[in-house]
C-alpha cells in the first residue's frame, strides 16, 4: 500500500508552493476549477438572464449574440442556467464530501486508535456499505424520502463515509507504527490526544487529495441523479436535468444536449487534474499517477 508510505518529515508551505507552480496538472486543474467556482459565485449576483423567468414565445432559439448558448424549451437562457447549475452541483458535492469527511474520518481514526471489537465493527460496517452499489441505494433513498437536492446530498454523503473511513483507518494504522508516534506514546499521551495532535495533521494531505476526487465524483453522481429526476428539482436548474430534458429535443436542438455535458466534463476534469496535481505536490513518490 504505497499510498500510506509517509516519507520524511512534513514539508513547509513554501516548499509546497514552489512545487505547485511547477506542476502542470495542478495549474490547469486549479484554473478550470477556479473558473467554475467563479461562475457559480457570480451567478448569485449576476446572470445574463433571469433563470426563473419563462418566456415561452422565445423558446428553442439557437445560440446567437443575445443568448450565447441558446434558449431551452421554456425560453430560458442556457448560459444563465449553466451558471446557476454550477452552483447547485457544487453545493451538493461540497455537502456530500463534508458529510463523508465529518463522519468517516473520526470513525476510521478511532478504529485505528482503539483496535478493539468496536473498531472491528466500524470497519465491518464500512465493508457492508461498500457492498451496496452506491447509485442503487441513492435511487432507493430518494424514492423513500422524495427527490430533492438535500436528499441527494445526504445519499451521496453516506457513500462518502466508508471511503474516508477506510482512508483514515489505513493512513492512521501506518502512522501508529512510526517512531514519532511511539515516542509520543512513551511520553504518556493518551491515544485520543495522539490522534488529534499527531495523526490528524499527518492525514491532512491524503484527505485533501481524496476529498478533491470525491468532490468530482459527487458532481458526476449528482448529475446522474438529476438526470434520473432524483436530484435538484425545478425551478432550480441543474446540469443533469438539463441533459435529460434535452434528450427528446437533441434531434432539432442539439446544442441543448451538448453544452450541459461539456459543463460537467469541464468541472470534473478540472477537479481531477487538481487532485492529481495535489497528490504529486504532497507526495512526489506517487508522481506516476493513480
Amino acid at each position: 500500500m504505497s499510498e500510506f508510505d509517509f516519507q520524511g518529515e512534513r514539508e513547509t508551505w513554501g516548499d509546497l508552493g514552489q512545487k505547485a507552480l511547477k506542476n502542470r496538472s495542478f495549474f490547469i486543474g486549479a484554473l478550470i476549477t477556479g473558473t467554475v467556482l467563479f461562475m457559480a459565485l457570480l451567478s448569485f449576483f449576476w446572470t445574463p438572464f433571469d433563470v426563473t423567468e419563462l418566456d415561452i414565445g422565445n423558446k428553442l432559439h439557437w445560440p446567437d449574440t443575445t443568448n450565447w448558448l441558446g434558449t431551452d424549451h421554456f425560453g430560458r437562457d442556457v448560459f444563465s442556467m449553466l451558471m446557476v447549475g454550477a452552483r447547485n452541483s457544487i453545493a451538493v458535492a461540497i455537502v456530500a464530501v463534508s458529510i463523508g469527511m465529518a463522519i468517516g474520518v473520526p470513525l476510521g481514526a478511532a478504529a485505528a486508535a482503539s483496535r478493539s471489537w468496536g473498531s472491528n465493527l466500524i470497519m465491518r460496517t464500512n465493508d457492508f456499505i461498500f457492498a451496496f452499489p452506491s447509485l442503487l441505494l441513492a435511487v432507493l433513498f430518494t424514492a423513500i424520502f422524495g427527490p430533492s437536492a438535500i436528499n441527494a446530498m445526504i445519499a451521496i454523503g453516506i457513500f462518502n463515509i466508508p471511503v474516508f473511513a477506510r482512508l483514515a483507518h489505513g493512513g492512521s494504522l501506518a502512522l501508529w507504527q512510526r517512531e514519532f508516534i511511539l515516542s509520543a506514546q512513551t511520553s504518556g499521551k493518551s491515544r485520543v490526544r495522539i490522534t488529534i495532535e499527531h495523526i490528524m495533521p499527518n492525514l491532512l494531505n491524503i484527505l485533501i487529495v481524496q476529498g478533491t476526487i470525491q468532490f468530482s465524483l459527487g458532481i458526476l453522481i449528482e448529475a446522474g441523479l438529476s438526470y434520473l429526476g432524483l436530484g435538484t428539482q425545478p425551478p432550480d436548474p441543474s446540469w443533469g436535468k438539463m441533459l435529460s430534458e434535452a434528450q427528446t429535443m437533441m434531434y432539432f436542438a442539439s446544442y441543448l444536449a451538448i453544452f450541459p455535458g461539456i459543463a460537467i466534463v469541464f468541472a470534473v476534469l478540472g477537479l481531477n487534474l487538481l487532485g492529481d496535481g495535489l497528490r504529486d505536490i504532497f507526495d512526489p513518490k506517487l508522481r506516476r499517477g493513480r
Binding site: 426563473t52 423567468e53 419563462l54 415561452i56 414565445g57 423558446k59 424549451h73 421554456f74 425560453g75 424514492a143 422524495g146 427527490p147 429526476g229 428539482q233 425545478p234 425551478p235 434528450q247 427528446t248 429535443m249 437533441m250 434531434y251 432539432f252
Partner: protein, 495 residues
C-alpha cells in the same frame, strides 16, 4: 486499425440485416409502441389504461363495445331490448362464439363474468360501473336478462368498458398472465418489459381481421420512442409521448401525424378545503393568473384545446367558458388583495410523472410567482400521489388529466380529492340523473359547467390531445380515444 474497420463493416451488415427482417413481414403484421407496460392482461382486475390499450376489442369483448366515435355498438350481444321502465335489459348473444382455448361461449359465461365483477371479493377496478345491477340471469344458452335497481341510463355504455369484458370460469384466474377471451386476436407471448405479441385468432366468430400478427412494444422513454419511430422499429405510436417531436414527423413523408382528442380534462386541481384555497377569490385569482395558451405551447408544444370548465370540447353539451378567466395578472393581484393577501403567499404543488404535469407545473409556478404566490414544486411518483393527494387529500395544488369519459359528476361526490362542496352543483346533478330527454340533459350539463367555472373550483387548463404518429401506409387506427384502446380490428396496410 484493421481490426476496427472489419468490426465496423460487420456491424453495418448486421444492422442492415436487422432492418430487413421487419420490412419483409410488414404487410400483414403491425408493431405499435406504447409508453406504459400493462401490469397484467386481465382488464377485469386492474385500472391501468395500458391493459385496455392492449386487450380492448382485440383479446376480450363485452356484451357491447364503444367505437372510435364513443358510440355504443353491439359486440357479443347481437341485439337487446330494454323494458319501458328501463329496469330490465334482455341481451341476445351471438352464436358459435368460442374462447381462444376452444371452449364455447354462452349465457352462463356472461352471468359468471358480471357476477365476478360485482361480487363480494371482486378486484374489479371499476366495480361502481355495475352498482345498478340487481340480478343477471341466463334465460337460455343465448339469452341473458339483466335487471337494474335503480335504473341507469349509461348501462349499455358501462357494459362496453374493458372492465366489463367477458371471461370464462375455466380460464378467468389465469387471465393475468395467459389471457383467454373471445376477441379476433389471441395472445401469443409477453416478453416482460419489452413487448406483447398477439396473433389472428382463426376461430373468431365475426369478421376476420386483416392483420396476422400484432406486437405492442413497450418504450417508456420519450427519446427512445422517437428513435424507434425513426428507425422503423415500430410502425406507430397511437399516443406519442413527446409532443416536441411531432413537427419532425410532420416534415417526414414516411409518417402521418394525427392529433385527436382524448377524454382527458387536464386541470390544476385545488384543495378547496384548505386555507387559503377555500376562499373563492383566491381560486379565481389563480384562474386569472394562469396563461393557458403558454402552458399548451410550453408543455404540449401547441397540442391541446383550452377548456374553461371540466368538460370535453368535442361533446355536444360543451359550453365555451375559456373567456371567463382570460389571462390577467393585474386582476389576479387585485383579487388576492381583496382576499387579504396583498403580498401573496407560499404553497406547494405536487406533480405526478407525465410531462404535461411536470412541465405544466413549472410554467404555472412561474405564472403564479408573478402575482405573488410562491409555489414549491414537489415531483412525486404515482404511488405517493395516489396516497397523499388522491386518498388523503394532503396537498395544496396538483396537475392531473382526468381521463374517464363524461366525469363531471365527480364534483358532486361526497368525498373527492378536490374537497369541493356545492349544494347548487349537487342539485343540478340530481336533476340530471332524473332527466332523460337529450335537450334537457344538455341544458343541465351546461349549467353544471357554469357553476364549476363561477366557483373556480380548479384551474381548468386544456383537453389532453391524442398525439398519434404512425407509418403513412397504416390505415384504421383511431384518431380520438373515447375509451383507452388500440382497436386493431380495422387496421391494415395500404399498398
Amino acid at each position: 486499425m484493421k481490426l476496427s474497420k472489419f468490426a465496423l463493416r460487420g456491424a453495418t451488415a448486421l444492422a442492415m440485416l436487422a432492418m430487413a427482417v421487419p420490412a419483409l413481414a410488414a404487410n400483414n403484421s403491425v408493431t405499435l409502441g406504447m409508453v406504459l407496460e400493462p401490469t397484467h392482461l386481465d382488464p377485469t382486475a386492474g385500472a391501468a389504461a395500458a391493459i385496455d390499450e392492449v386487450v380492448y376489442a382485440n383479446l376480450y369483448e363485452g356484451l357491447t363495445r364503444i367505437d372510435s366515435k364513443g358510440v355504443v355498438q353491439p359486440a357479443l350481444a347481437k341485439s337487446w331490448t330494454v323494458s319501458g321502465d328501463g329496469l330490465t335489459y334482455t341481451f341476445m348473444l351471438e352464436d358459435g362464439v368460442k374462447f381462444h382455448d376452444g371452449t364455447d361461449f354462452n349465457a352462463e359465461d356472461v352471468v359468471f363474468s358480471l357476477n365476478r365483477a360485482r361480487g363480494e371479493d371482486s378486484v374489479n377496478a371499476q366495480k361502481a360501473l355495475f352498482k345498478a345491477i340487481d340480478t343477471v340471469v341466463a334465460v337460455d344458452a343465448s339469452t341473458v336478462k339483466i335487471t337494474l335497481s335503480p335504473s341507469n341510463g349509461s348501462m349499455l355504455f358501462n357494459l362496453g368498458w374493458g372492465d366489463a369484458g367477458l371471461v370464462a370460469p375455466e380460464s378467468a384466474d389465469g387471465n393475468k398472465a395467459d389471457p383467454v377471451g373471445t376477441g379476433p386476436f389471441k395472445f401469443v407471448k409477453w416478453v416482460k418489459g419489452d413487448r406483447i405479441e398477439l396473433a389472428k385468432s382463426a376461430a373468431y366468430w365475426g369478421d376476420v381481421v386483416v392483420l396476422d400478427k400484432a406486437t405492442f412494444k413497450i418504450i417508456s422513454d420519450p427519446a427512445a420512442a422517437f428513435a424507434a419511430m425513426m428507425a422503423g422499429d415500430v410502425d406507430g405510436f397511437p399516443n406519442f409521448p413527446a409532443p416536441e417531436n411531432l413537427d419532425q414527423f410532420r416534415a417526414d413523408p414516411r409518417f402521418s401525424v394525427v392529433v385527436g382528442s382524448t377524454e382527458g380534462e387536464t386541470i390544476l386541481s385545488i384543495n378547496n378545503a384548505k386555507a387559503p384555497f377555500n376562499n373563492v377569490k383566491v381560486r379565481q385569482a389563480i384562474s386569472y393568473a394562469i396563461n393557458r395558451q403558454s402552458i399548451i405551447d410550453g408543455a404540449m408544444f401547441g397540442n391541446g384545446t383550452p377548456i374553461g370548465s371540466h368538460f370535453a370540447p368535442h361533446h355536444p353539451a360543451y359550453v365555451d367558458l375559456t373567456g371567463a378567466y382570460a389571462y390577467n395578472p393585474e386582476k389576479a393581484r387585485a383579487l388576492l388583495a381583496e382576499a387579504g393577501f396583498p403580498d401573496g403567499f407560499d404553497a406547494e404543488i405536487k406533480l405526478p410523472p407525465p410531462s404535461y404535469a411536470r412541465r405544466g407545473g413549472e410554467i404555472i409556478a412561474a405564472d403564479l410567482k408573478k402575482v405573488g404566490i410562491n409555489l414549491k414544486i414537489i415531483p412525486v411518483e404515482w404511488g405517493p400521489w395516489v396516497k397523499d393527494v388522491f386518498t388523503e387529500t394532503n396537498y395544496d395544488l396538483t396537475i392531473v388529466s382526468h381521463t374517464e369519459p363524461q366525469d363531471i359528476g365527480i364534483y358532486a361526490r361526497e368525498k373527492y380529492y378536490f374537497n369541493y362542496k356545492s349544494d347548487a352543483f349537487k342539485g343540478v346533478m340530481d336533476k340530471l340523473n332524473k332527466t332523460t330527454d337529450t335537450d334537457g340533459r344538455y341544458k343541465l350539463l351546461g349549467e353544471a359547467q357554469q357553476i364549476l367555472s363561477d366557483d373556480a373550483v380548479n384551474g381548468f387548463l386544456f383537453q389532453l390531445a391524442k398525439t398519434g404518429v404512425w407509418n403513412a401506409k397504416l390505415k384504421g387506427l383511431w384518431e380520438n380515444s373515447p375509451v383507452q384502446a388500440n382497436d386493431l380490428t380495422g387496421v391494415s396496410w395500404s399498398e
